[in-house]
Amino acid sequence: MSAPSDNMPIPAPAIHSKPLFVRHLPYFIGAAILVALAATMRFDGYVHNILLQATTFSIAVFGLSVVLGLCGQINLAQAAFFGLGAYAVGIGTTDLHVSFWLCLLGGCLISLLAGAFLGMSTLRLGGHYLAMVTISFQQIVTLVMINAIWLTHGPDGVPNIKRPELFQSSQSYLAFCVAMLAIVGYLVWHLADTKLGRAMRAVRDNELAAGVNGIDVFRTKIYAFALCALLGGLAGGLFAGGFAYVSPDQFSFAESIVFLTMSLLGGVASPIGSAIGTGLLILIPEWLRFLKSVPGLYLAIYGLFVILIIRFMPDGIWGFVADAFTRWRAKTKAPPAASALLLKPATVGGDTVLEVTGLSKHFGGLKAVDGVDIAVKRGGVHALIGPNGSGKTTTLNVLSGLYEATAGKIVLDGTDITHMPPHQRTAAGLGRTFQNIRLFRSMTALENVEIGAERPGNTMVGKGDDALTERAMEALTFVGLGSRANELISSFSYGHQRLIEIARALASNPTLLLLDEPAAGLNSTEKLELHELLKRIAAQGLTILIIDHDMTLVSEAAQHITVLNFGRRIADGESMAVLRHPDVVSAYLGSE
């Protein structure tokens, strides 16, 4: 566990000195050139249509890169959301004589609401439900488009859809769509590095860990899903204006699969990949037009493609490029932290940081935890020990909100947290690590710790991304891994991963730190270093509640010990006295 010491004072470097807009200037210049080209180059009608289709489809596929790529949730109804936007513009500008802009906005809104509703009804459940419910939604939308003739004109579709006054010519409309594509692409690209984007990636990598790091998992998923639906609606509205005609078969389940394939082929995690995938899957069928002469052949090949991509190229075409970039970035060193990590645990309540009274957790007839009282005094290390199956980890899971308590009360620093979900407990000042390490595996060490630092209510981190990075670097430096901040989690040893998890919790400046068997799987040198680390943490006044089997570590580190056996508390008090308590001895060694 020995990392090169980078606790030396180093002159503060300038991190990210240039403002965001300046750093991203090349993107905007590139986008402006593309828009100018779209506005001035002469295309024949065929090329124009292909470009318009690629542009609008790309926006819809960007939606999938948010929901599937960033957040790891599936959406098999993107064509339905696309269709909602398209029909809003179609029906609105023809039958209702409403302005294009209002219709576009209305379509986006309808898609957004439909997406949010679907998400709210399903996203608490597992991914299979979402897959099926989105397919169901897709079917219902198609049924309505075909059968509600009074509204949608049925299978005949809606002709003569209007464009806005400003972009009457097809050339200027294309330029407008390309500009929209550039803006949406920028937002989606940038989203990954915002707080919301990091939360989505955290949810994708590990929902449990995301929850205990202060992320509202359910809400994050809904945002991702609703955003995806919104982009689908926007793309559909633009599509309808561009082609002036919509009909139900353009928004069928098969089209949803086409969107999905585009997203997977290009690389689901990035908008660049989405655009590449969309472009290819619009062009390839044009080159292979003869395939369309046999009905079904074309989609059969799509289906085969999906299986092959998933098996052999799970990150898509852009994934290869992005991988190389990540490897390159791992070699770069993050600027070291300017100052040492400061922990300033909040002190709202009195002497007791955590007051647990009569806590019970029953699984059916099994009383895993039964009427346990724990009072953790402010400052120092409190240990919770007990033989296997005594209810320690269950207690910790109830404390951090992964299980709902059957009975009892938990007060953290004066706040009753008994009925809060995990992310709210984290916001209230709880930090924890897991016995089986739960890090966000697709992210770098630094990004992992940044998510910790983003805990709602963390007073130790200033405004802006730079302050966040600084705080995370301080925490990583504190555990001795500052020089390896940009490496992916998979390149760290087990012991180092444990340290990153502790750094993630420390960066959030918790009031109470719960450590679930931190010494498990460590060798003796690593255990010694862990002990040193605990001392340094405790020295800053942060209270630690630790569960462990390692009696040496517990007896040396903890001042106060609570012992559980069969879900009940059998001893509590000052360390040495507790370890000599006859009940404790017999619980561990068996009675005579």
Partner: protein, 290 residues
């Protein structure tokens, strides 16, 4: 009242088909923790195999056996080509791969056989019998009878035979099962074969009632999946009750509310269940396990 009874009969008949496909879903889900989105295509492919075999001049029973054998083979190919290579990945890639497989199967059949729906004769010569006020269609009677037999067989197979118990052990704890000397990959293979045959059977049974078409697979699969959620996800009894309930709801909905939206009722019921009782009638685990 007569109409109600008549509709009830028809509803249970069509519901039995959903129940059979739902059973296939549940068996694969329990064995692999993955929902097979191509389950409905198994029914569709079997129905087409049956049509082809009869065109070749085989007698009905022989065509039936050929179709089921074909389904067993498809189960093997599906497992090796779609599930097995991805077995160590998370559920998401596997779901997407099974969706890909479903698109591939449906459209391959379309490319080979064309879009015209085919007609498959029923098993019996007599179209049905009049029992008092209601008319019992012979094919529906057959469907209901076969479903009852299969449910009994299923119970006997999983509860009373060693192979059934090995399959159960595999579905509950793969690592432990393999430590006990059970070949997990063989068990999963058997599950896929059994589910494919089950799905195929449902397709062959329902084909004379519906048309044999490319869409029949996805329609049946969606209803069957809704049935598993309504019954309680992962629960065998729930799948059957859910399937029957859905068949009845749909039949009554079509008769009393709207025919064009017949296929929409299942989804409305599904969404209502997800909002108000996500654990379904028989209340199984709901959220993804930690």
């Amino acid at each position: 009242m007569d109409l109600v009874l008549q509709l009830l009969f028809t509803g249970i008949g069509i519901g039995a088909v959903y129940a059979l496909v739902a059973l296939g879903f549940v068996l694969i889900f329990r064995a692999t923790n993955v929902v097979n989105f191509a389950q409905g295509e198994f029914s569709m492919v079997a129905a087409y195999l049956m049509v082809v075999a009869i065109e070749f001049g085989l007698p009905y029973w022989a065509a039936f056996l050929v179709a089921l054998a074909g389904m067993a083979l498809l189960g093997v190919i599906f497992n090796l080509g779609v599930y097995y290579p991805l077995r160590h990945r998370t559920y998401l890639p596997v779901i997407i791969a099974t969706i890909g497989a479903s698109i591939l199967l449906a459209n391959s059949v379309l490319a080979i056989y064309g879009p015209q729906p085919q007609v498959l004769e029923g098993w019996f010569e007599t179209p049905g019998i009049q029992l008092g006020p209601i008319y019992l269609d012979s094919q529906y009677l057959l469907i209901i009878g076969v479903t009852i037999c299969l449910v009994i067989f299923n119970f006997w197979f999983f509860e009373k035979t060693l192979l059934g118990k090995k399959l159960q052990a595999t579905s509950q704890d793969k690592e432990m099962a393999s430590l006990l000397g059970i070949s997990v990959s063989t068990m999963i293979m058997i599950t896929f074969i059994y589910s494919a045959v089950l799905g195929g059977l449902a397709g062959i049974l329902v084909a004379p009632v519906l048309f044999v078409s490319i869409q029949m697979g996805s329609t049946i699969a969606l209803k069957a999946f809704a049935a598993t959620i309504i019954g309680g996800f992962g629960d065998v009894a729930g799948a059957i009750i859910g399937g029957l309930a859905l068949g009845v709801i749909e039949t009554f909905g079509a008769a009393y509310i709207s025919v064009p939206y017949k296929d929409g009722f299942a989804f409305l019921v599904l969404i209502a269940f997800l909002i108000f009782r996500p654990q379904g009638i028989f209340g199984e685990r709901v959220a993804e396990k930690a």
